[in-house]
């Protein structure tokens, strides 16, 4: 389903005229260019509120985002997407939807497979994936880098880790689009996608019960919970849904935004081609300036954040991307400085919910940019095409038309 087709199913939100008191992270203006909006909100208050989404706050400063991220007593992770509806919680995805004390044991199960050393073992496969993709379009002198490159790298990498067919990628991308974008406004689409995904993974669990394999699904199936017993299937299925949902369009977005920046900034592109050792530092800056992931919390108890009262019954749009643009913490916060030395960015979150896949994402981003620059050092945005951005929780280019080679 394309974005234009699916858009017709979405109930319309009225356009925003007063961002400070009525913000909406699904508004087309926000989707297209959120940075001036965040600046306006930050100038108004460290915490702003909207009546949309049944009531939602947004911390606008790094400090306010950090206070909320560290405060698991007043703010729960049981809902991690700000949506139009707040139905009963049925499908949990531990540890992202877990609070203390359940959070730590659930998270610790997932940490060892995602350490930097584990990622080094996966790196050659990711490098090969990138080159296979580039082989598919390099002779054309043009491509939609979002549809034909950045999208497929994280899908194939996580499929490889989980031990599921890399060819099922289109299915995963459809579910993720339904859960993270369409699901904000239509609960039935989200529920169906979650069910389909659960059924898909239940099939893989059944297969491995017959024939255990050496992959992440088997690792989770063999893991023991805090009580020393194997994890219930419900927990394993929830964690698998999480890995698929969190592992794909996040990194797809991060690689896409990095390439988008390099396509329109020849000086940075030329410098990284000449100094590939700078790429990891540049990747941290792309993560800061174009952080893809906005999380959510639910207010459980009355609290005060950066001097602002916050009341239960509301959600919180936990915008790490906005925190990373706060000039109180980052000099030249609105500029992309690819050799930025001090960069305490929070693109992967702060506190106990630090992204479990951060080492995977960094490796994929670094390899994807290295391989692209090696083979396509000279490229630009296609002026005849249009760059489009995803809506809502994860921000990144979904169409990224590029010219290179004979067209550069």
């Amino acid at each position: 389903m394309s974005d234009s087709e699916s858009a017709s199913f979405m109930p319309e939100h009225p356009p925003v005229t007063d961002w400070v008191h009525d913000f909406d992270h699904t508004d087309p203006t926000w989707t297209e260019n959120p940075f001036p909006i965040w600046e306006q909100l930050r100038a108004a208050s460290p915490v702003v509120h909207t009546e949309r989404f049944l009531g939602c706050y947004m911390p606008t400063t790094y400090q306010a985002v950090k206070e909320i991220a560290y405060d698991t007593e007043h703010f729960s992770s049981r809902r991690v997407i700000v949506r139009d509806v707040r139905p009963d919680i049925t499908a949990r995805a531990p540890p992202i939807t877990s609070d203390p004390p359940e959070h730590k044991p659930a998270k610790q199960l997932l940490l060892p497979p995602f350490t930097p050393d584990a990622m080094k073992k996966l790196e050659p496969r990711v490098r090969a994936i990138c080159n296979e993709l580039i082989d598919g379009f390099i002779a054309d002198g043009r491509c939609d880098a979002a549809a034909h490159y950045t999208k497929h790298i994280p899908v194939r990498a996580i499929a490889h880790m989980l031990g599921i067919p890399e060819n099922d990628g289109d299915l995963f991308i459809k579910w993720i689009h339904e859960i993270l974008e369409l699901g904000i406004k239509d609960d039935s689409i989200l529920m169906r996608a979650v069910q389909d995904m659960t059924g898909y993974f239940a099939g893989h669990l059944a297969q491995r019960r017959q024939r255990p394999s050496d992959d992440l699904i088997s690792t989770l199936m063999q893991a023991k919970g805090p009580d020393g017993q194997p994890l219930p299937d419900e927990h394993v299925l929830g964690s698998l849904r999480l890995l698929l949902i969190a592992g794909i369009d996040t990194t797809w977005s991060a690689i896409g935004s990095s390439l988008w920046h390099l396509a329109k900034t020849p000086a940075d592109r030329e410098r990284l081609v000449a100094e590939p050792k700078l790429i990891p530092t540049a990747i941290e800056e792309f993560l800061r300036a174009y952080s893809p992931v906005t999380m959510a919390r639910e207010v459980m108890k009355e609290a005060t954040i950066s001097g602002c009262p916050v009341k239960p019954g509301n959600m919180v749009l936990l915008s790490f991307p906005a925190a990373n643009r706060d000039p109180a913490v980052f000099s030249d916060a609105d500029k992309v400085v690819i050799d930025r030395k001090e960069n305490r960015h929070a693109a992967f979150g702060l506190g106990i919910h630090r992204c479990v896949g951060s080492n995977l994402a960094r490796m994929e981003m670094t390899v994807a940019i290295e391989e692209w620059l090696k083979r396509i050092p000279n490229f630009r945005l296609d002026p005849a095409g249009k760059v489009t951005w995803s809506e809502g929780t994860v921000r990144g280019p979904r169409q990224l038309p590029m010219l290179f080679g004979k067209n550069a």
Binding site: P112, R344, H345, G351
Partner: protein
């Protein structure tokens, strides 16, 4: 230059691993990916800049650098 000593606060570290990537000589990661200072945390001569770089890039502000 005075001698530096580093310490990773285990209550604060969340395993972002920025320190390990910026100063691999000074930090090691455990099986969960959380960082620990190598040995007693003494910074060998010549690695002072890396110690400060790790400190200023830790998102959780979990790294303490002290001058002895």
């Amino acid at each position: 230059m005075s001698k530096l000593k580093i310490r990773v606060d285990q209550d604060k570290c969340q395993g972002h691993a920025r320190c390990k990537s910026l100063a691999p000589e000074l930090f090691e990661l455990d099986e969960y990916g959380n960082a620990h200072e190598v040995g007693d945390g003494s910074v060998p001569a010549g690695l002072e800049d890396k110690a400060w770089l790790a400190q200023t890039n830790c998102p959780e502000i979990a790294i303490e650098v002290t001058e002895e």
